[in-house]
């Protein structure tokens, strides 16, 4: 007897899960457009790899460590390998736990994919696969437990609607650590390394925004008021960010840029992620407008440093997630969210709870990612050689090219494969 399942809620959560899964290939497209053409496939494949690896680790132990039990730091292994995850809802829930599991899995997946933005164009694919598997357990599952699974942040009163802690701040500050450990691309700071297809970037950003309605709108796990509030805020907040970003672009360079607009969409969606179900639509727009400034500033500043955090995951996700988490502490409104007020409505304690998360999550993510990559680096090279980097990661890592012409390509019959890598005209 599964009495507590609500069919409407379940129907929406099935759709929301599919929407969030789509965000990861959308991110792959967004990232692929931002790199040079010789690294298009490798960059896209890092996102696809996140789906492959993180879905499996999540089913094996990640979900259990995040959502089994009320442990302060980490959950148990009671749900490992989906043990006991079936059609009955979790306590207080209205959707089958197996849907809840799938929805949460898509969050783990995209967070792993996000970090790839820091290491594209030089990290070896196999090293990334190992990193993705370990990071999804050691960092994501732990932070998800803290914020969503009844860990010390959630039980202490920190509000995080859709993942400011485990998704946005975790990916952003892990990206910074990854960029530091893996190191800059060989030509970084010496040559202009430009995005090769701005249309991919805009299309990717648009698809991400579309998927984000499932990401935020689904994070109430129902069709209730918090969910529909978050849904609408996901429209309004990024729109406000776009407007301010346009203005900043105009002031700084006299032109509104397309890649800037794509970036603003991501920043706006990230800003509203933690706050979506907790602030009114009016405050959501203010959040979008104000939150544009720090991310814009960090992007401008970062490119002048030696830190090749290539696709600015720290600025777009880490910073905007940090601002969104803190914003709840000021402008949460019980009359809208039914949970808690922020400082502006007389509850200063909420700001303290939010500040705690804003300090703890970045620290944990940065330190653990740094240590994890140093460990992996002790067993296998993290990055391709300079020669391979110059040739391009698509050919070197995957044996394919994104824009292959086929001219001069000779079909190899099965018997010839393996004998092929011989110079036709040996100069020696």
């Amino acid at each position: 007897m599964i009495a507590a399942v609500d069919t409407g809620d379940t129907a929406w959560m099935l759709v929301a899960t599919a929407l969030v899964l789509m965000m990861t290939p959308a991110l792959g497209l967004f990232y692929a457009g931002l790199v040079r053409s010789k690294n298009t496939l490798n960059t896209f494949m890092m996102s696809i790899a996140a789906i492959a690896v993180a879905a499996v680790t999540w089913a094996a132990v990640g979900y259990s460590l995040a959502f089994d039990g009320e442990g302060s730091i980490i959950g148990g292994l009671g749900n490992a390998f989906l043990n006991g995850v079936d059609f009955a809802p979790r306590p207080g829930g209205t959707i089958p736990e197996i849907v809840f599991f799938a929805f949460q899995a898509t969050f783990c997946i995209i967070t792993v994919a996000l970090i790839s933005g820091a290491v594209v164009e030089r990290m070896r694919f196999s090293a990334f696969l190992v990193f993705a598997a370990l990071w999804s357990i050691v960092v994501y599952a732990v932070l998800a437990h803290w914020a969503f699974g009844g860990g010390w942040l959630a039980s202490g009163g920190t509000l995080d609607f859709a993942g400011g802690v485990p998704v946005e701040m975790a990916s952003g500050f892990s990206a910074l650590a990854a960029a530091v450990v893996v190191g800059a691309r060989k030509d970084y700071g010496r040559q202009a390394l430009l995005p090769h297809n701005a249309v991919y970037v805009l299309l990717g950003a648009g698809l991400l925004w579309f998927g984000w309605f499932g990401f935020n709108g689904g994070s109430g796990f129902s069709t209730g008021q918090n969910s529909v509030l978050a849904f609408t805020n996901t429209l309004l907040c990024p729109a406000a960010t776009l407007v301010v970003w346009f203005a900043l672009d105009l002031i700084r360079g006299r032109k509104v840029t397309a890649i800037g607009a794509a970036t603003a969409i991501i920043v706006g969606c990230v800003l509203i992620t933690p706050a979506g179900g907790y602030v009114s639509p009016g405050w959501a727009m203010l959040l979008g407008a104000l939150g544009a400034f720090p991310s814009y500033g960090i992007i401008v500043w970062r490119t002048r440093t030696r830190v090749d955090e290539t696709l600015d995951v720290l600025a777009a996700h880490g910073t905007a997630g940090f601002i969104g988490i803190l914003f709840i502490g000021f402008f949460a409104q019980a009359s809208w969210n039914g949970v808690s007020d922020g400082l502006f409505y007389g509850n200063a304690a909420q700001l303290g709870d939010q500040a705690l998360a804003a300090l703890a999550a970045p620290t944990y993510a940065f330190v653990m990612t740094f240590v994890l990559l140093k460990l992996i680096g002790a067993f296998m090279p993290l990055r391709a050689s300079d020669r391979e980097e110059a040739t391009g990661m698509d050919v070197v890592q995957h044996g394919e090219e994104a824009y292959v012409t086929g001219e001069g390509a000779i079909l190899l019959l099965p018997d010839d494969v393996g004998k092929a890598a011989v110079p036709v005209a040996d100069p020696g």
């Binding site: 020669r387 391009g392 001219e407």
Partner: protein, 117 residues
């Protein structure tokens, strides 16, 4: 007057540009070409179809220079284009009969000597 044709790796094109700039060679054109120069071919696989890519992407510089600039130009392309691996490319220097700057009608040496606008 010579036409210097340098065919280099695309990933070295920026270095060649820098080297030409340092050598004060100002006028040139470049184009993307495909070629084969004895390097080991790449084997790629697309859905079970394995192919040997016979042609590699190259960048072709064409620089028309007066005789006194020929050596500098060749040295610059060599310096910028060299990685030491097979496939770094070739430089060809060919005689040039006649050159005209379209804007002014300057011909020959005058046409290939940069002017300060």
């Amino acid at each position: 007057m010579k036409l210097v044709i340098g065919i280099v790796r695309p990933e070295q094109a920026n270095q060649v540009l820098e080297a030409l700039h340092r050598a004060e060679v100002r006028g040139f054109s470049m184009s993307r070409v495909q070629g084969h120069g004895g390097e080991v071919e790449r084997v790629e696989t697309y859905r079970g179809t394995t192919v040997q890519m016979g042609l590699s992407e190259k960048v072709r510089f064409e620089v028309a220079v007066s005789d006194s600039f020929v050596d500098k130009t060749v040295e610059a392309i060599c310096e910028g284009g060299r990685t030491g691996e097979v496939g770094d490319g070739k430089i060809f220097v060919v005689p040039l009969d006649h050159a005209v700057r379209i804007r002014t009608g300057d011909s020959d040496e005058g046409a290939v000597t940069p002017v300060s606008r």
